[in-house]
């Protein structure tokens, strides 16, 4: 199974950095209900799958069916997967291209004469931004009511979510010692369940590298790891299984829920809260 969490995270961060430079969407106007929607971003895939009719979707990214990476992987089966090539997009003649942002896509830049309607989504690093992306996508694919319903469902799922973290410190520790910092979706999830991000405490940037020694010295109450690294598959994941970390409680979350700002946010939040509560009851 491919595991591209770090790559995806880095790409998202890079994307966020580019956003300020993105010009306002020019392009043609999309029909009220587009019939050939193409998504050119893994995170956009999940929103399109959740909000558009299957018959409307003409193409998704090649990772859309990867269960490790996408929370909507099962729903994506059977839909054509594109390898981000201009030729494939040209052949589809989409009437809506969704990306993050779509206007900076290299594949579309190769087709300067084509004037496809574009939807530029921002990288969502908070629940509020996820809701914004959902509204934008729902409107663009012609089903605004579905967007409102999805947001309402997410809100009801999050209502009454306990905060079992009680101010304890957690580190989101990835293969080769990369640690996720503040201003990220992970950080927001931690805050939501009452945890304090170790990266914030140490003043680290959104993505930093922390050695095993530094992690042992910091002694967080929890390590949050991607469930893909639960088994040792290479030297990068082997590091997370070092005996020096065995005394730190471990929470494992599929990165499919956290790598994108997507409806799976609620699953991630609930899973975190449940696992913290379980560890808490075991310890006491």
């Amino acid at each position: 199974m491919p595991r591209r969490g770090l790559l995806a995270a880095t790409a998202l961060l890079g994307g966020a950095g580019l956003l300020w430079a993105a010009s306002p969407v020019p392009a043609a106007k999309a029909p009220a209900v587009p019939k050939r929607v193409v998504s050119i971003n893994l995170c956009a895939d999940q929103l399109v799958l959740a909000l558009a009719d299957r018959s409307q979707i003409a193409g998704l990214t090649k990772n859309a069916t990867d269960r490790e990476m996408s929370g909507e992987a099962l729903a994506a089966r059977g839909i054509p997967l594109l390898s981000n090539s201009a030729e494939q997009i040209l052949a589809i003649e989409p009437d809506l291209v969704v990306g993050m942002p779509a206007s900076r896509s290299a594949a579309l830049a190769a087709l300067p004469q084509q004037d496809y309607p574009l939807l530029d989504l921002n990288t969502a690093n908070t629940l509020e931004e996820i809701h914004t992306s959902i509204r934008q996508t729902a409107t663009a694919v012609g089903h605004p009511a579905r967007g409102d319903a999805l947001i309402a469902r997410m809100q009801s799922e999050l209502a009454g979510l306990p905060k079992p973290g009680k101010g304890r410190v957690a580190a989101y520790y990835q293969r080769r010692g990369y640690m996720t910092g503040t201003g990220t979706l992970i950080d927001e999830l931690m805050t939501r369940v009452g945890l304090v991000n170790l990266a914030g405490k140490l003043g680290k940037p959104p993505l930093s590298q922390l050695s095993l020694e530094e992690m042992v010295a910091a002694q967080p109450d929890f390590l949050i790891v991607e469930s893909a690294t639960d088994t040792v598959i290479d030297q990068g994941s082997e590091m997370l299984h070092h005996p020096a970390l065995k005394d730190i409680s471990r929470i494992s979350v599929p990165q499919a829920w956290t790598v994108c700002g997507s409806p799976a946010y609620t699953q991630a939040a609930r899973s975190l809260a449940e696992q913290i509560a379980r560890i808490g009851s075991k310890a006491s």
């Binding site: 491919p2 590298q209 050695s211 042992v216 010295a217 005996p243």
Partner: protein, 330 residues
């Protein structure tokens, strides 16, 4: 300058001891000596004891053992092949062992049993040595052997890259770098138990050859006349190198040039007979690699430097000096 054998060994052992202690004292986290001593005597805080016993101690033990193995293998190969440039990484043995290790880990074979990893690494090393002897064992010019080694090593590197690119691992580039340049970062006692038995067997088999290596300086016929069993000597040497280097590479990656530098530093201090440099080269290799590993931890860099980078900076000048000497013979 020739030193008495015991004083050379004592001096090298002292250097190694200093290097090992320094390796326990320095790391990513600054711990005071008092805190480390408290941890070592069993009444320290939890953080200090975990850092000392779970992180720094296995790393130091591995640096000593892997360094000793590489230094000894270099000395033995130089003696047996009568070639000053022979050593595991120049001859491609380390890279072939890395290929075996990569195959064991990335195709899931290492999960079957812990012994599979060193076994495949040893297998890779053995195949490369056999290939080398077949290609250039009887060659007149010492350079033929080095060229054959470069060919074998290049093939192994290409195989390693191919195996990693074919494996379903999107982080292949990072993994390739670690395997080809070597690192002792984040090693634990699990790795020590994989490497140490192999290195012990390899060391024993190579040290056993001392008399035969001395006899071989007179040429194969003379050595045979002196009662050396050439076939057995060769078998011990190839197996010892393969098993020891295989175990070392399985946990540390292919660290280059240790086996080249150390014998050349040691030789002028001895009577220059192959047997006289075997044990000192092992001790010197342990000191050198431990110091190099200390270096990668202390040199400030965003990612920790790979060990092979440091040893290459030290080793390539030695290699070139000897290559220049060879050229005069052309």
């Amino acid at each position: 300058m020739t030193l008495p054998r015991w004083s050379l060994i004592a001096a090298l052992s002292l250097l190694t001891l200093v290097a090992a202690i320094a390796s326990l004292l320095f790391g990513a986290v600054d711990l005071s000596v008092a805190r480390l001593i408290a941890a070592a005597t069993g009444d320290g805080d939890k953080v200090a004891s975990i850092i000392l016993f779970d992180l720094r101690l296995p790393r130091t033990v591995l640096a000593l053992a892997v360094g000793a193995m590489l230094g000894l293998a270099g000395a033995a190969l130089q003696g047996y092949l009568r070639n000053p440039l022979a050593e595991p990484s120049v001859l491609g043995t380390s890279n072939a062992a890395a290929l075996g290790g990569v195959a064991a880990i990335y195709f899931g074979l290492a999960d079957i049993h812990p012994i599979v990893l060193p076994l495949l690494a040893t297998g890779g090393a053995l195949v490369s040595l056999a290939l080398l002897v077949a290609l250039a064992g009887q060659a007149e010019s010492p350079l033929t052997l080095i060229l054959a080694g470069i060919a074998v090593g290049t093939l192994a590197v290409a195989g390693t890259s191919l195996a990693l690119n074919l494996s379903p691992n999107p982080f292949a580039a990072m993994e390739i770098m670690t395997w080809l340049l070597g690192s002792l970062e984040n090693r634990s006692f699990d790795h020590v138990w994989i490497a140490l038995p192999c290195i012990a067997i390899g060391t024993a088999m190579l040290l056993w050859n001392d008399r035969a290596l001395d006899a071989l300086t007179l040429g194969e016929d003379a050595a045979q006349a002196l009662g050396t069993d050439l076939k057995r000597t060769r078998l011990r040497l190839l197996l010892g190198t393969a098993i020891g280097v295989g175990g070392a590479v399985a946990v540390a990656g292919a660290i280059g040039f240790v086996g080249l530098i150390v014998p050349h530093l040691i030789r002028p201090l001895t009577d220059r007979s192959p047997s006289a440099i075997l044990l000192p080269s092992a001790i010197g290799g342990a000191a050198l690699l431990t110091l190099a590993d200390l270096g990668v931890r202390i040199i400030p860099s965003t990612n920790e430097l790979k060990l092979g980078v440091v040893t290459a900076f030290l080793g390539v000048p030695v290699f070139l000096v000897h290559l220049m000497r060879e050229r005069r013979l052309w």
